[in-house]
């Protein structure tokens, strides 16, 4: 089943066509990576898919249903979740509370019950906390639960965002450069987390610069350049595509990509 499809998606800012006629089809359970140089439109594409931007043309379908006009919170309710390139952590809250917010979709108490702190709320808080701790454990942050989010290192914050996204129990997870700024050890950890996510049947759409990671775990790779599709296929197909190799992987990149298959 196609869990995410875009059809002739386009958006322009001022005179710049940030995304131009892009078609994507992501199958359920896949790891689908989007690569391309900075400025090629990868994060813009994510913003379009998650509903932060409204496209000028084209359409978006999530799980077979049209999602083009939907607000971000409605797309979240359809099973979409994402992390952010520039981190959108709730710095004033604790690590645990950040992930607890991720459970919002599954929380069932109303504002009146919340005001009065009825037993249903007490139960809900407990359930939310348990689920949040489980998500933290998955990314290896269980020990940091009570710390303020602002006290975490950058790599840990990236994992926190993943935990928070996981807490929503998504069917489709968009990861925007999850390994950016991470050292090789942290990147390995993120790699392991992504693999375990995929094993749970969650579809992962990945924007990443780390070519080794991309080539290792992707089922399909989509290459963007200047807002347009340059190529798409399996990792082998993409890395051996002359145009892609020449323009975007560069010498170093293609060596890294080759090493991924060793």
């Amino acid at each position: 089943m196609m869990i995410l499809e875009t059809d002739r998606l386009s958006i322009a800012f001022g005179g710049v066509r940030a995304i131009d006629d892009v078609n994507i089809a992501v199958e359920s359970g896949q790891v689908f990576s989007i690569i391309g140089p900075n400025g090629s439109g990868k994060t813009t594409l994510f913003n379009l898919v998650s509903g932060i931007y409204t496209p000028d043309g084209g359409s978006i379908h999530i799980a077979g249903e049209t999602a083009t006009g939907l607000a971000p919170h409605e797309r979240a309710r359809r099973g979409l979740s994402r992390t952010f390139q520039n981190l959108q952590i709730f710095y004033r809250m604790s690590v645990l509370e950040n992930v607890m917010v991720g459970r919002h979709r599954h929380e069932r108490t109303g504002i009146l019950a919340d005001l009065l702190h009825l037993p249903t709320v007490v139960r809900q808080n407990k359930a939310t906390e348990e689920a949040a701790r489980a998500a933290l454990a998955r990314v290896g942050l269980a020990d940091f639960a009570e710390r303020p989010a602002s006290s975490l290192a950058y790599g840990a914050l990236k994992r926190l965002e993943i935990a928070r996204a996981l807490a929503t129990e998504p069917s489709l997870l968009l990861l925007d450069e999850p390994a950016a700024g991470c050292n090789p050890v942290e990147t390995q950890e993120i790699d392991a987390v992504i693999r375990s996510i995929v094993k749970d049947g969650i579809t992962v759409v990945l924007v990443e610069h780390d070519m080794r990671l991309v080539m290792k775990i992707s089922d399909r790779v989509h290459v963007l350049a200047n807002g347009k599709t340059l190529a798409e296929g399996t990792p082998e197909q993409v890395r051996s595509n002359a145009a892609v190799v020449e323009a975007y992987l560069g010498v170093h990149g293609s060596q890294e990509a080759a090493r991924a298959f060793d």
């Binding site: 800012f13 913003n47 932060i52 952010f84 390139q85 520039n86 959108q88």
Partner: protein, 290 residues
Amino acid sequence: MAELLQFVFSGLTVGAIYALVALGFTLIYKASDIINFAQGEFVMLGGMTTVFVAQAGVSLPLAALIAVIVTTAIGLALHRFAIEPAREATSVALIMITIGASIFLRGMAQIIFDRRFHSLPPLFGADPIQFGGAAILPQSLVVLASATAIVIILWLFIERTIFGKAVIATAANRLAARLIGVDTRRIVAFSFAVSAAIGATAGVLITPIALTSYDAGTLLALKGFAAAMLGGIGSAPGAVVGGILIGMFEALAAGYVSSNYKDAVAFLIILIVLIAIPQGLFGRAKIERV
């Protein structure tokens, strides 16, 4: 018809003052992204200082000059002591600082001056000029002419001098301006000084018509801000157009609807503009990038 003309003229007159206040807002906003709520106090200080200095025996033109200089100094002090130390504050925090400054200046004016209404003698006498059945005060013409002159001078300065170019650069992109050697702190201080001077001048000019008192600033600031928003905050021509429009709407509402609610016009306009066209008539909508 004569009635309409009357309202148009009083609307233009008070609109010119709102335009000057709005211009002051816009200048500071362009240079620093700050909404300066003390803008109205600059107008009040211009009028009140002139009144009290003149009462002390100083000749009127000199008193007015002193008032403008003192107010300009206060504007610079406001920047130096309240704005500069809070550089990294959020926009809301900065608004609260300028509101605090506005109330502080009001409170001090109440003590240093007094709580009564005051007036100044008009420049060319108080006999109204008859025009098409409407009676126009000569001071109104003074206000209109002066406001036009100020706008032109400011425009010439910004467009034609190096310092003016530096202001434009700072307004466009502060970091980039600093990187090419513009001292953005001085530019922001300059914008406060000029806004204060413009405000004070407006205060001196309008006091013969509208009187002044220690708390005249608040309402003026709000209406001037409404004008700036209507025109599109960050747009100088917009500020002028916005000011004239608000003045006209106010005068027409006072004449044809109810004079009690004339103050409400500006606030209603603020709400309508913010809800319907937040970028104003001449402004540009901002896109938030994630």
